[in-house]
Symmetry: C2
Subunit: 439 residues, 2 copies
Amino acid sequence: MRLSRYFLPTLKETPAEAQIVSHRLMLRAGMIRQASAGIYSWLPLGYKVLRNIERIVREEQDRAGAQELLMPTIQSAELWRESGRYEDYGKEMLRIRDRHDREMLYGPTNEELITEIFRAGARSYRDVPRILYHIQWKFRDEVRPRFGVMRGREFLMKDAYSFDLDYESAIRAYRIMFVSYLRTFARMGLKAVPMEAETGPIGGNLSHEFVVLADTGETELFCHRDLIDFDVMDRDIDYEGDLKPIVDEWTGQYARTDDMHDQATFEKEVPEDKRVHRRGIEVGHIFYFGTKYSEPLNAHVSTPDGESVPVHMGSYGIGVSRLVGGIIEASHDDNGIVWPDAVAPFQVGLVNLKPSDAACSQACDELYRKLRDAGIEVLYDDTHESPGAKFAQMDLIGLPWQLVVGPRGLKAGTVELKRRATGERHELSGDSALSRLAA
Amino acid sequence: MRLSRYFLPTLKETPAEAQIVSHRLMLRAGMIRQASAGIYSWLPLGYKVLRNIERIVREEQDRAGAQELLMPTIQSAELWRESGRYEDYGKEMLRIRDRHDREMLYGPTNEELITEIFRAGARSYRDVPRILYHIQWKFRDEVRPRFGVMRGREFLMKDAYSFDLDYESAIRAYRIMFVSYLRTFARMGLKAVPMEAETGPIGGNLSHEFVVLADTGETELFCHRDLIDFDVMDRDIDYEGDLKPIVDEWTGQYARTDDMHDQATFEKEVPEDKRVHRRGIEVGHIFYFGTKYSEPLNAHVSTPDGESVPVHMGSYGIGVSRLVGGIIEASHDDNGIVWPDAVAPFQVGLVNLKPSDAACSQACDELYRKLRDAGIEVLYDDTHESPGAKFAQMDLIGLPWQLVVGPRGLKAGTVELKRRATGERHELSGDSALSRLAA
């Protein structure tokens, strides 16, 4: 993409309303724009990141055997009355009346609707186990939306739901999602630690939050330092195999959010030099809740013996839009964002220092073509801004690599390749730069 | 995907509420399920088709130089007051009050919001031309939603918006979208004919509808038969080049929807044997409307002379979810759906006629593995249903190829390959079948 044609409205000044660094940087980098309180438009640069994150989430759900569908944003209130949750949700639920005065709502979550879908489509033990998921916009009418996409009102979430014949099978599904979450976050360059957590309005009796460490997070956490030092979970997984050892490894040490924290247990179980008390950002939350929805909503299947039993369910959420902010909180410096390669909107920023110089522009055009031919996504700064402004903007938007081409270097046969994360720079030939980037 | 694990709740009976064939077939094939009136959940099979269509639309928008972003579903009423359309939309607009009693709405279209985004991010002639698009769910509170996804209340639409300095440049954008629409629909195996159309509540003075011929369509059309006989538009296009000849070719003959139809002109311009009076389904609609929104909303840029002028705009819609129904209306037979290859949920249905036979299952497992290794999406019927039920279900869901494996054929060293569209069957070796499918 040529920057001269790209819709990238970066800001020079820091917007006063943004309290945390990810919100400030997303506004400054032209990634989002507020449409109304807690509701954002995703501009081209931001939307590319959101879609990269969504793709990783989807790939890992599919790999774990979950099946994608899509439920609508607008739901009927009726189903929520069946489950008894219509009143529970209070003012956070956006309630709507349509033209026929029917009560509707903008789904804040989908346990009711997916249970209804499953009960209509499943009859027997042959129809389980299943894990169904969707990636859809949700709405929670927060009283004070803040922190940009971290606590917005309209937000993108992946929610999966598991359906099993009995407890043992349901725990298998729980472990599959647990492990797939470790992989999902690791692929984004994040260290997310699973914490025992309260189940809240979802209900149930087994739940883990996946929390990324960040001082600006809203979640307070207490855990054993070893969990933080664990290797991220990027190895291949056989989801048909026994996942208990992996889950046990990650749940064998004290790790709780403040809701569940017990100081005496913490001090008893964790040696003083291993106690970690930090803040973090919740990016995923998984629940096993048994028959809490399948009973009132009558989602039964028949067993091999012909008995009709309510299915055991769990639900598994990932905050897809929140992750964009979470990754920035975990990966930035004074000059701007530092995107992990896997989610970066472009891999390379190609900077033409002097577009008025024919040789310089020709060299840039050729590098641009070759990079694209190699399947590398490039943002090509072919504008007439000053070199200083170009460098500052490239650092701000945080592409992993900057390839800088100027008349002086070209005379010596070199271009400059800079790694955004480390600031390391190398002078090398255009071809060497290309082969390093294509590696 | 193994059918024994797939969530595919097909129906044996035809649902009474479905009046048109696409609605009936989508329900029967387990593609969708109604959540409430005019609002559907997309089950795994249906969602795969929807995503395939969405991908084609996205690829063709990107190819034409449009840039993707995403605007939220919930908008503030304020902007719509600025443009003067808040009252115009009547009861079709889903109006909402949030917890602070602020007036919101579920966007039925996005001219206002995109204009606001553009005015905030653009300053001068250097910031045009731009075409921005998004693919997002919309809501129109139809008084009588019907025909399944063809006239639902919550529906997925691609809407693009162009921003130009003057009329000439805006017409270039209009032509770019016009031609990209021809390509987009052709890639889906559809013949969509552009018709002069009324502009309706979008406003403006230049507009074409793209209409797929189908007797069940809600649009009445009159056109010259040559347009229907034109080759579909699947050749490569240089979007930087002159597109006027292509547009002229497609607009040179009488082609109007009933709103714009004039019988006298029709009879004067079209010889009697070339007059076509048919019904069709509107799948795309493009508009040039000049400064209708940029003036009231103050979306100005400065010219090279320093003058401040309102930008010229157009908008360009494709009914993404409607297309799923539209394609079925155009491509089905008595036994079910006949998917064009480009949008099919799986390319191949692999039918194991006797899973209890070890040799048969081994052959199927191997074909399944090899097809997947070749990057081909396969639905593998490994269930214990009767052969008749398996054939009927495969025909119903309409995958382009059926690969049928039974013990009798295996003894002779053959499998059967059936093309869904034509019913043609070939007995051939497993390897020959693989190489034909991988071609």
